[in-house]
């Protein structure tokens, strides 16, 4: 029974494809999978927008949307209808072709990367050798889309936002990739399916996830921090800082194109969180042995929702960084930590299993962490701020 439930989407797809004539089946099979992926993650997008607004409302001591449907749950539908029926305004000075292409170049790569995410047992669109490399390569293409949006609008705020976004994404891409390298070293493969495979099984009660090693834990934190920066989430949301540059690179977008930017941003967030789950949190594996009866895809989406909830929580809690703080954090803290983490992972893989390698690797990770943190804090006034005039 649990077997069938686990594979229910795979079986459903086979049944659906089996209805078509045999000649069409090779073409139809990927199409059905693509449709399923787009449908699942687009509805997750709708769900996340309402979760985010409700959650932020909770944190800020207000109600959040509660008018449309029960508990305001149909709010995304209303939002979608609104953006679809709004007028699409293109500034007169804008570069029309580039202005039109920018949202598309953002959304298409964001959708492409889902091809390599295993969302459940036997549930991955393509399984090939260089999957993680593919993910990062395609993800890098979104930077260009942001530049296109910011530059083509001919608006100084959008250009500022785009330059901020690109500088931020380039800086945080390096720690992002370097922290993923540790997992690739441990798994010995760039294929996402194989990385998930390597994390199966349990040592006693504890799953063999990479996050439960010293380097994996540090790598996971580095990865998710860089992921937040990469998808322009708060506290790294300088590119769209509403209070200083209005909305960044998509000020001059309205109607459906604006919705596409919004969609692209959230799809990117889901994708990179999904990659974090695949690399560090054991993909679709259950956290405890006796929970294995729950279908694998349910675990994947449960982990994804948990990570999204943490992102919402962080957004409601932390203030926005300043540009110099952002850059200092990337180059003086994240990058050295990621490099040291690779060293720790290498030593971990060389040493024989046992207590010794836990101690050694933990020291290698924690020591530089403390030292780097102190070094960065030095010469900076980090005590409670004293107000000269308001006292």
């Amino acid at each position: 029974m649990s077997e069938t439930l686990d594979q229910i989407f795979v079986l459903l797809k086979h049944w659906l494809v089996g209805l078509a004539p045999a000649a069409w089946q090779p073409l139809l099979s990927p199409l059905v999978s693509i449709a399923a992926i787009i449908l699942a993650f687009a509805s997750l997008f709708a769900l996340t927008t309402i979760m985010e607004r409700k959650g932020l409302g909770r944190i800020q001591n207000r109600l959040g949307p509660n008018r449309v449907g029960p508990f305001g749950l149909l709010q995304p539908v209303a939002d979608g209808l609104k953006t679809l029926t709004k007028e699409d305004i293109v500034p007169r000075a804008a570069d029309r072709a580039v202005h039109f292409l920018a949202p598309l170049t953002l959304v298409v790569p964001s959708l492409l990367v889902y091809a390599v995410l295993p969302v459940g047992r036997n549930m991955v669109l393509v399984d090939f050798d260089a999957a993680v490399l593919f993910f990062f390569a395609i993800g890098a293409a979104t930077e260009l889309a942001i530049f296109m949006a910011g530059w083509s609008s001919r608006n100084k705020y959008s250009l500022l936002g785009a330059m901020r976004a690109i500088a931020q994404m380039i800086s945080y891409e390096i720690p992002l990739i370097l922290s993923a390298v540790t997992v690739i070293m441990a798994a010995g493969s760039l294929s996402t399916v194989e990385i998930v495979q390597k994390q199966s099984g349990y040592a006693g009660w504890i799953p063999n996830w990479y996050v439960l090693t010293p380097w994996g834990f540090a790598g996971f934190l580095l990865f998710m921090t860089a992921a937040a920066a990469e998808s322009n989430r708060s506290p790294f949301d300088l590119p769209e800082g509403e209070s200083e540059i209005i909305a960044g690179y998509y000020i001059e977008y309205s109607g459906f194109k604006f919705a596409l930017f919004f969609l692209g941003e959230y799809l990117g967030l889901f994708a990179i969180s999904g990659l974090g789950i695949t690399l560090f949190l054991g993909g679709w594996h259950a956290p405890l042995p006796f929970l294995e009866f729950v279908p694998s895809w349910a675990w994947f989406f449960a982990k994804l929702l948990a990570i999204i909830a943490v992102f919402i929580w962080i957004r409601g809690t932390l203030p926005r960084l300043r540009m110099d703080q952002l850059m200092n954090f990337a180059w003086k803290f994240m990058l050295p930590m990621a490099l040291i983490n690779i060293l720790a992972a290498g030593i971990w893989l060389r040493m024989s299993p046992g207590m010794a390698r836990w101690v050694v690797c933990s020291l290698i990770v924690v020591g530089p962490y403390v030292m780097l943190g102190r070094g960065l804090a030095q010469g900076r006034n980090l005590e409670k701020r004293r107000y000269r005039f308001a006292e």
Partner: protein, 187 residues
């Protein structure tokens, strides 16, 4: 010649022509990015998966962005009425056509062409990594050194010059005066 190759070749060639021929520098770079992506598609079609994705990661993700930054920092995208071709452009075109002719002639008379198609090689990324770490480890180290040198060199060259010496940017602008077309955009 398959349809997919013809498509990739046409897109890449057109994008390359646009990259060197368009007036607006930013459009040039966007076309160049398309050419890079087309080349990556050609690599993938040839079975070089790793190189294809590295091409996208490095060229589309880094080099194109770098060029865009350079354009915006040098305010090159606003040169509307300066001539875009250099003085000796006719000789440049002649040289390029000549080189193309020589290359095509050499291709047509080459002995390598009539070979059959060997079976598609199945190269895992693991093999590439293995080769990098064993047979080609010395070049890898040298490339690492080169990249470090380039990083430091790039920072030092582009670093702000000290303000004190006579040739500081501010003074240079003041000497040229407000009539100079390249100076009036700095607030």
């Amino acid at each position: 010649m398959s349809f997919s190759f013809s498509l990739i070749a046409a897109v890449t060639a057109a994008a390359a022509v646009a990259a060197v021929g368009m007036r607006n520098l930013v459009h040039c770079v966007l076309a160049l990015t398309l050419a890079f992506a087309g080349l990556a598609a050609a690599y993938l079609q040839l079975g070089a998966q790793f190189v294809g994705f590295v091409q996208i990661l490095v060229y589309v993700g880094a080099v194109a962005i770098l060029i865009v930054f350079a354009i915006l920092l040098t305010r090159g995208s606003e040169s509307a009425n300066t001539p875009m071709l250099s003085k000796g452009w006719i000789s440049g075109v002649l040289i390029a056509v000549l080189v193309l002719g020589v290359l095509i002639y050499a291709l047509a008379s080459s002995s390598a062409l009539p070979r059959g198609i060997p079976p598609a090689p199945d190269i895992a990324v693991r093999q590439v990594g293995d080769a990098l770490m064993r047979r080609f480890v010395l070049p890898l180290e040298i490339v690492g050194l080169l990249l470090t040198a380039a990083l430091i060199g790039g920072v030092i060259i582009a670093m702000q010059e000290p303000k004190k010496p006579a040739a500081s940017p501010e003074q240079g602008r003041a000497q040229r005066g407000p009539t100079d077309p390249t100076t009036h955009s700095h607030p």
